[in-house]
Symmetry: C2
Subunit: 425 residues, 2 copies
């Protein structure tokens, strides 16, 4: 039997926009991986009457109800009381939990336990206790009229710790199905073009399903299968992933890879190569994206942000005569920048970006959205021209950085390097 | 009359946990600032029947209903059709919107418009059109039986652009009152320390209100007043803002400034100065943040990402003997990096960052979270040591970049430069 879940977060701070509901995201990922269908997220404030109404709706449409928040000791946390009253479960004091909370305060924090923490040791009669090794508020689960109710704490690290240690084992015992997903990552084609390449029947499949997500500068396709075992789910997914990759061709930069920079990182590491950067209009974004990855120093030596033309000449050694003749936003400048970065850092490869990110055209009148992206390698230097149109500045920068990584991954995987039409739909 | 709102996000990717519902957070902040009470967030998948049920519940309990998502051109975006059918509003083709979308593709992106984008030009009869300057899907608003329905796109930057330009003016017109807010931006003090400095009565005020928002590496305070006119709201806010600034002192880096880098940008521009960067553990983040601002070339010349120690020596000219004696993560290295960046770029000022961002300590055993941040100026070089503890890599990088900008803004505004205790609670 397949389960349907609703995640109810209780907290006025969510409704005021002080924080995002990341707990719902973490829970949804975990539940999906168990084959539990999450159909609703609801956020409601610390208000007993409105919480009761939300519980009443949830109980009618879902058979797994997970609440987050409202287990703390303060007086505005009435969630536990409200939920227990709604499901007709009296709260009872668990002396062993009270002892644990007291030990946490006296042993770990070296202070006496505040008296209102006693309330945290009260849990619904007959529940499964979820203990909280990183905080004081325990959670719990109970079943009432066919609905499984799980109460988890609000602070994200307490919630995710309790999820892994207690809630997932509890939920796993409810289900026989497994869900497996694979992400097919593409760069260089818009969402509508991807959709038009894929046949209607691919997009309408029921199990496995295929969904398209447009990230700011990329398109990701997720294939998901539900089956009695991981092996049978994988067997359903293999032909789908292979078909999509074949149809989309070399715009696919990886399956289950998180980003273009991660694809480059893995390919560079596998081949024992390092690279460097020379950036003008992206202003350090290519460098920042690769160095956001732990272990980046294995593949990345460093680079230059040559924002002013003088820095292109003085630090990267781009000849002044070349800059005068072609301008700083030109194929010639991009090539010389990449070659300069490779020379001064001693890296095996270097990528460069120079362009007009806007909002104004560059000083020589190069229109907004134009950029030249080059790759210097032992075999020679490759260059691609991008025309991103009059997009927002951060989008142009993001696209240009993606092109730099795309040149790199094409070089590293032996694909045609500059063939891509770099006009963006 | 006071309004009650529900935010309904439509998207299976939210229920699968692929993304967090940040749109709901952004909308909640904006609506709260207008004095509109957001009472529920709901997330539902791309499923017409379940969406109809959610709309039916929302219509009964809220008088403002804001939907996000489901306006795209792909086949799984049935939100618009479902909402219009539910509220009995036929969809009609708006030729002027179609022309805009075609212009966007042909004019700005230089490609023909894919045929399925035609659907995006269909909007409910008699609605107020919200145009979309950063994407193709327009939004809209209409009133039906006393409920105001606003349909906004799902991609966060499109949603927030349309919110600012169209949805907020629409919502503001529903109320007779004016709401004015000012943001007091701070860096260098944790949220609880800020709270403890402010008196109870400041935090409990009703109108104006004072709210604290902890961003990943900063604390923002927002003072908001509700009044019949802008002038009277401003008159209520002036003493509150002045008081908070006086109490918090020089951790306040600006009022209604968006970020530390913007504060630096404005101060540099006012004084006609330029700066450069030399980055190790931040990997280009300082450069990327300043160049994200339009017009950055007025104040920023460029810099070096000296990720490998050899790049510190070869490109920035840090003496090898110094690096051998003190290590690349040291006060001496930070000072020499800043001085090197200043020298090779010819900038008036330069900032540098070198540290251990983790997850592993640096090769000489410097613990994760330690960084040295230096500022080279004509008067000499200043250095600050940061201890961010074992935070996540991106948090350590973000904090270190903030320190670089903080040194710069303190220098530019004549404040004590390195006095701040840079241990992070």
């Amino acid at each position: 039997m397949s389960h349907t879940a609703e995640i109810v977060a209780v907290g006025t701070e969510l409704l005021l926009g002080n924080i995002a509901n990341t707990n719902a995201q973490v829970l949804s990922q975990a539940l999906s991986s168990l084959g539990i269908d999450v159909r609703w997220h609801t956020v409601v404030g610390d208000n007993p009457e409105r919480l009761r109404q939300v519980l009443d709706i949830a109980r009618q449409r879902a058979d797994i109800l997970i609440t987050t928040g409202g287990l703390g000791p303060t007086y505005d946390d009435l969630t536990k009381q409200t939920i227990c009253a709604f499901f007709g479960r009296p709260l009872v004091l668990h002396p062993e939990i009270l002892a644990d909370i007291r030990t946490f305060y006296e042993g770990a924090l070296h202070v006496p336990m505040p008296e209102n923490n006693t309330r945290q040791a009260e849990l619904p009669e007959g529940c499964v206790v979820f203990d909280n090794p990183v905080g004081t508020a325990p959670g719990c689960a109970f079943e009432s009229g066919g609905v499984h109710v799980l109460m988890l704490p609000g602070p994200p690290h307490e919630m995710s710790t309790m999820l892994q240690r207690c809630a997932l084992p509890y939920l796993r015992s409810l289900s026989k199905e497994v869900i497996v997903s694979h992400d097919i990552m593409t760069f260089g084609m818009g969402e509508s073009s991807v959709d038009q390449l894929l046949e209607e029947e691919m997009r309408q499949m029921d199990n496995p399903t295929l969904a398209t997500y447009a990230k700011p500068c990329e398109v990701r396709l997720r294939a998901t299968a539900k089956a009695p075992s991981r092996e049978s789910a994988e067997a359903m997914l293999t032909p789908v992933v292979a078909h999509v990759c074949a149809v989309l061709g070399d715009v696919v930069y990886g399956v289950d890879v998180r980003s273009l920079e991660e694809a480059c990182f893995l390919a560079l590491k596998a081949r024992g190569l390092t690279f460097a950067t020379a950036e003008s209009c992206t202003g350090g974004l290519v460098a920042q994206r690769i160095t956001a990855l732990p272990g980046a120093s294995q593949v990345y030596r460093g680079g230059v942000v040559s924002y002013w033309t003088s820095v292109k000449a003085d630090v990267l050694g781009v000849p002044q005569a070349l800059l005068d003749a072609h301008g700083p936003v030109s194929e010639a400048a991009a090539r010389a920048m990449a070659e300069g970065a490779r020379r001064i850092t001693g890296a095996d490869l270097a990528v460069s970006v120079t362009g007009a990110a806007g909002p104004d055209p560059d000083e020589r009148g190069v229109p907004v959205g134009i950029a030249y992206i080059a790759l210097a390698a032992p075999e020679g230097t490759f260059c691609r021209r991008m025309d991103a149109g009059r997009r927002r500045r951060d989008r142009i920068q993001g696209l240009a950085a993606n092109h730099a990584f795309d040149l790199l991954r094409r070089y590293l995987t032996g694909l045609p390097i500059t063939a891509l039409d770099a006009t963006h739909p």
